[in-house]
């Protein structure tokens, strides 16, 4: 009997001891969970907000360009300035010579235009435009195949640039040296519009949809 009682006592003692341990465990595990959550939030903030800010250096275009005014003034839309040469190559961003055709002297009061005329036209110096959609050296892209043959709109890949009144900030990836427009604004890589990104997968996605296959490597590489 006595042994049983003893055992019972021990049990209760042990039981209370267990409860004590449990109580202490609760507070410490709560602290661990809190610590984990705080750490997770901190690393998410670093990963999603601080890191992308650090990764890209922000540069302003030498001249704040107003596309809206220019689109209104020209007859042939984008191709008035971003034209095709006779051999099918694409001129890209216009050279100074072309701008000078209209802007030999300032036509208005806009400080940007005056700056352009004084610093570049007068000195016959090319404007060092930053190219948002510059691809790596190994990429071959034929504008004429897409615009003339496939009858695609410029905006499908470049977005509504023609509706912009100011040049947006050029963000350069400090590691790769490429523009942020290639990777896309969204750091996680989600895209809503066709012009959100300009990576190889985006080309391949459209090619697969429109032509039925991604094509061979040499179609776009050189």
């Amino acid at each position: 009997m006595s042994t049983k009682e003893n055992a019972k006592d021990e049990n209760t003692e042990n039981g209370s001891a267990d409860q004590d341990n449990k109580g202490r465990g609760d507070s410490s595990s709560g602290f661990i969970i809190l610590f984990f959550i705080v750490g997770l939030v901190a690393s998410l903030v670093v990963g999603w907000i601080v890191f992308p800010k650090l990764l890209y250096s922000r540069k302003k275009q030498p001249i704040d360009f107003n596309h809206v005014i220019h689109v209104e003034a020209v007859d042939e839309g984008c191709e008035s300035c971003h034209f095709f040469r006779e051999d099918g190559t694409f001129s890209g961003i216009p050279k100074l010579e072309q701008c000078t055709d209209c802007h030999e002297e300032a036509q208005g009061e806009d400080p940007n235009e005056i700056k352009f005329v004084e610093e570049y036209v007068a000195k016959e110096k090319e404007v060092p435009w930053l190219i948002y959609s510059r691809q790596p050296d190994c990429v071959f892209f034929s504008h004429v195949a897409h615009v003339k043959m496939a009858k695609m709109d410029c905006a499908t890949c470049h977005g509504p640039v023609g509706e912009s009144e100011h040049s947006k900030v050029y963000e350069k990836n400090r590691v790769t040296g490429y523009s942020r427009d290639i990777w896309g604004k969204n750091i996680s890589g989600f895209k809503k519009n066709t012009y959100d990104r300009m990576k190889m997968d985006d080309c391949a996605q459209c090619h697969e949809k429109e032509t039925g296959d991604k094509g061979s490597c040499f179609q776009c590489h050189k």
Partner: protein, 272 residues
Amino acid sequence: MNKEHKDTKTKKFGMVIDLDLCTGCGACMVACMAENNVPFKEDESNKLDSITWMRVYKLTNGKSFPDTDICYIPRPCQHCGGIGDHGHSPCVSVCPATATDYDHETGIVSQIYTRCFGCRYCMAACPYHARYFNWWDPVWPGDMKESLSPNVSPRMRGVVEKCSFCFHRYQQAKDRAYANGRREIEENEYQTACTQACPAGAITFGDLNNPEHQVHKLVNPDPKHCGRPKNPKAFRLLERLQTNPKVYYISSREWVRRAGDNYIKNESKQIA
């Protein structure tokens, strides 16, 4: 199949080299290096290091005077299609990185330098030694870097490179055709640098699928037999490996044609 390419015919670009005309001057090699930004080395005689997309070899019949005879044989990448042109080229089938692939629209074997990681399996697999490894970054003396072609991306240390049949010229030719509202290019719009540089006119380039093209007329490839030439004077290198190359050679000399395949001495019957 490709929607866009349904409108255009499948091409099979190939080359015919007339060895009776080749003088071994090496103009094709020079033109190729200049066209494709091929780096040169301080010691070009070090053949483990030097890179020659197009290379002229010298063959001799091994006989002494007065029967001695030599033949120069230019060797670009053979752009093998494999049996039935399914793209089972020796190099393409071994590449673990898919850095080289077979273009079914043009029959050209590509090499994507940014994708290659330099394992050199393809070099081991290529029976023609047409592939070269960049042991060093290219060094361009003086201002020469400024005169590199922007149409061909330069290679870096640690990747394999090879002849591309001047694929950038095909891209440019297509752009020109598109600008004029055409889908198909003309025969003379796409020619490789070596073809145009050859002073003897020994090299002919064009679409082997197109009976109108000179290359087709010269060799008359037999589609039933893996594109083997019907012209008895024409041959391909190592025909018996069935790599189905797109580079054909023409020679009126029997010993040259036999040298195109490594037959065992005194072998009586050609295995085909």
